[in-house]
Amino acid sequence: MTLLQVNALSKRFGGFAALTDVSLTVRAGERLGIIGPNGSGKTTLINCICGALTPETGSIAFDGTDVTRLAAYRRTRLGIARSFQIPRPFSSMTLVDNVAVPLEYVAHRGLAGGAGIRHEAIGLLEQMGLRESADALAGTLTQVGLRKLELARALAVRPRLLILDEVMAGLSSVEVDEMLAIVFAVSQRGVTILMIEHIMRAIMRFSQRVVCLDAGRVVADAEPAAVVADPMVQRIYLGG
């Protein structure tokens, strides 16, 4: 079953074509990796899918509904969650409050908050190993802590599609493994995952399928091994 259908998407910034005619299909439950050099349009693609940007042409369908012009927060409520390449914590709020925001606005919309929300938020933080700092300000977290918080918040919307934008950038190899384990666990629960990553080791281990973008176009879309073997991808990555 197709969960996300991206159809012939194009996005321009002034004279610069960030995405040209990009199409992409994601099946429910799939683990999809997206690779490509800096500036190849990966983040732009995500921003279009999540609603932070509106494409000039093309369409996006989520679970059969056309969401191309839908406001970002509405897409979130349909079940699309994301993390940011540079973490964007609510720094003046505690970790619990950070996670409570999506709980109140998506998962338990219309219900009174209070103890139930807090309990659930702490549960999510616990899964990320952030239990002890639950009442600390988000601004005080370390880099890896911030990435985990991003993940906890994203999971709080109870997503069906989770989009991860370089959640492992800047982490040590132990931390990468730790993060991978968490993401695998999420996938195990049936959440579809779309992951952008530069760390090849991680993306190869994680993905069932890999899409490679270059200069705003899809240049490869296959199993990890096949993509790595693709001469075009090799040229992009190894230069030439």
């Binding site: 979130t76 940011f84 609510f90 720094s91 003046s92 709020m93 409050d97 300000l137």
Partner: protein, 315 residues
């Protein structure tokens, strides 16, 4: 929710104290000064709903205040409308003003909203100056009807403004402690993250802008009766814009109590303390207080108190 009980109890006590004061305090000046302080409580609280919670700075608070006052004047002139009608109409108009400015600029970076409020202030002032019906640039005398229940209009207005202050604070407090308040804080810290986590940021901002605008109109509506005479220069004074912003910053913007502390402190202490200070130094004191506070106490008095209490957490 025990907190609400305590708050309502406190509110009733404050109102009762205000009413009792009008019966036992002989000194009329107390009510003149008290009215001004309470008016600043309303204005600062209103400003903080958008400026403090959501981080969108309104520079034109004076215009919202003055439009509230002039709506009241127009209604008095046209229909001799009672105070309640004036107040409701003023709130409706300034709330709409907040909504309109917000709808136009709240999609953009915060500073564009600030600039738009400056523009709106100039346009409103020019419009009032050219509107002969409410006195235009010459101003107009507004004679208050004999007060009901109280021995003077000022005492009546003092109680009315106490009520307004409590109302404004209750609104601010309920916003702050609700999911709306959490959403506003979230979007203040990161608008994109908030939106991606299901927070309808534009709607929340519009809600805050409308509420804030309406409460500023509330602060201004009784002003003509208090002054007995109103003209654009003093109604649109830069004082209101600066105070509305300075008081929450001095008190602390994170919580509803911050603007109240700031307004009561700055509004009242100034009137009493510096009887012996020559006038230029007035302005100097404001300047120095602003600079010192934002430098030394970034979270305002509230943050200072928390630091003293040794708790690092917010609210």
């Amino acid at each position: 929710m025990g907190h609400w009980h305590r708050f309502s109890l406190g509110a009733v006590a404050v109102l009762a104290a205000a009413v009792v004061a009008t019966q036992v305090v002989d000194n009329e000046y107390f009510f003149y000064a008290g009215y001004v302080v309470l008016q600043f409580v309303v204005l600062a609280t209103a400003w903080n709903i958008l400026g403090g919670y959501a981080g969108y700075v309104n520079f034109g608070s004076g215009a919202f205040f003055a439009v509230g006052a002039y709506v009241a004047v127009a209604l008095i002139k046209a229909f001799a409308a009672p105070l309640l009608v004036q107040v409701l109409a003023a709130m409706a108009v300034t709330g709409l003003m907040g909504f309109a400015v917000g709808a136009m600029t709240l999609r953009l970076r915060g500073i564009f909203f600030s600039i738009a409020t400056v523009a709106v202030a100039v346009i409103c002032e020019t419009a009032v100056m050219n509107w002969g019906f409410v006195g235009g640039a010459r101003g107009v005398a507004v004679l208050a009807p004999p007060p009901m229940l109280f021995s003077s209009t000022t005492r009546l207005l003092f109680v009315v403004m106490t009520l307004f202050a409590l109302l404004a604070v209750a609104v601010a407090r309920s916003i702050q402690t609700s999911w709306i308040g959490r959403g506003l804080r979230a979007l203040r810290d990161s608008e994109e993250a908030a939106e991606s986590l299901g927070v309808p940021t534009l709607k929340l901002k519009l809600f805050a802008a409308t509420t804030s605008g309406a409460l500023m109109g509330l602060a201004g509506a009784p002003f003509p009766l208090y002054m007995n005479f109103i003209e654009p220069t003093s109604a649109f004074s830069l004082n209101y814009a600066v105070s509305a912003l300075a008081m929450p910053i001095i008190g602390g913007t994170a919580s509803w109590i911050g603007p109240v502390i700031g307004a009561v402190l700055l509004g009242s202490v100034q009137q009493i303390v510096t009887v012996t200070v020559s006038s230029e130094l007035n302005v100097l004191i404001v300047g120095v207080v602003l600079v010192v506070f934002v430098v030394v106490a970034p979270q305002g008095i509230l943050g200072l108190l928390r630091r003293l209490a040794g708790r690092g957490g917010p609210q």
